[in-house]
Point group: C2
Chain length 215, copies 2
């Protein structure tokens, strides 16, 4: 259908559209114009129409957009109509937190396994799932059709584990380790660098302090 590559800037906004539209749907709202949505979301109506039109004409002149069908369409674009099988590597606090977060599974993200190099944790149950040794990682991924690997391990081991993941042709890595991973083009990486995020916050606090002083 759509052929020209769509920019990541557009993609990054889709989950937010989906969130607001899902809320509207839950409120029982049937249709919405780009202008009304724009007011709610604090973006321009132009941007909403432009963004959505990358994927096809979901609206109707003089009417607006049907909320329910737009929710369905955006979910489909994001691939949320399919199930994704996931493993977590690193059964520390963060790994456990993600595993226990129920909301992901509502969107088709299914945690199938969790791995750790620490033998003391092996066999321990987190929710329904037990912690496995790293040695089983590769065979587990192949056997269970895993798409996504979550890295919640220190950066030192992240690089080596990534090599293994690439070896068994994982499709995507959700990386919480504080390194940039080097992977082939066909492997998708999404970084969540928490300390980077915190540093941005710190910058903005300081900038604000300075601005106050100056005025």
């Amino acid at each position: 259908m759509e052929e020209k590559e769509i920019s990541q800037a557009v993609i990054s906004r889709l989950p937010r559209y989906l969130r607001y539209l899902t809320e509207l749907k839950d409120e029982g709202v049937e249709r919405i114009s780009s202008q009304e949505l724009s007011k709610r979301m604090q973006v321009t109506a132009s941007q909403i129409r432009q963004d959505l039109n990358h994927f096809g004409g979901f609206g109707q002149q003089g009417y607006g957009y049907n909320v329910e069908s737009l929710v369905t369409e955006i979910a489909k674009i994001l691939g949320l109509d399919q199930e994704h099988y996931i493993v977590i590597i690193g059964a520390g606090n963060l790994g456990q937190a993600l595993l226990n977060y129920a909301n992901f599974s509502r969107r088709g993200f299914i945690f199938k396994g969790i791995f750790d190099s620490n033998p003391a944790l092996h066999g321990m149950k987190i929710g329904e799932i037990e912690v496995r040794p790293m040695e089983e990682l590769k065979s587990f991924i192949k056997k269970n059709n895993i798409d996504i690997a979550v890295l919640t391990i220190p950066k030192t081991s992240a690089v080596e584990v990534t090599r293994q993941l690439v070896d068994c042709s994982i499709k995507a890595i959700w990386n919480f380790a504080h390194v940039d991973l080097d992977v082939p083009d066909e492997v998708q990486v999404e970084n969540v660098h928490l300390s980077d995020s915190l540093m941005k916050l710190s910058y903005n606090i300081c900038r604000n302090k300075k601005a106050e002083k100056d005025s």
Copy 2:
């Protein structure tokens, strides 16, 4: 010093510069040119020079940049030369994970307290810190000079808690709840919307699948 507002695009790149430069420093590298750094980081040398020059001329013609002093400068720009006092609201898995993550404190981010509405958790110790009831939040923030509040609670309570935080003039909110918070301009918000991030990954997996089929 610098007067014109610096774009968030630039700020977002600073932590990454800091990371690479710190690595270089640890490797004992004394100086680096924008070109060498550009090769390591996979960004253009032009961008590096442009970015750094927003904050002053840290380099020297014919020489490059001194690694150690650049590390210091960027850290200062990001406000990492100061301590930030933090409270976490929500003592679930994610809250605990963040509290236990030692690397933040190395950068001057000090966790002072953790709060939860669930009485069963009150008094429980996580690391050195015990879980407190929500009723103590406001007075605690004032007494302990807290700058940053971390929200690791469901979105339903996030909105009400944010109101309280604004009331006691918190400086910044690090928001892990899946809502957009409505705060006055002087309060900084940094969102970490994990499910948005996961959806982006999902989109890119699907896009890749499609591209393979087409070729």
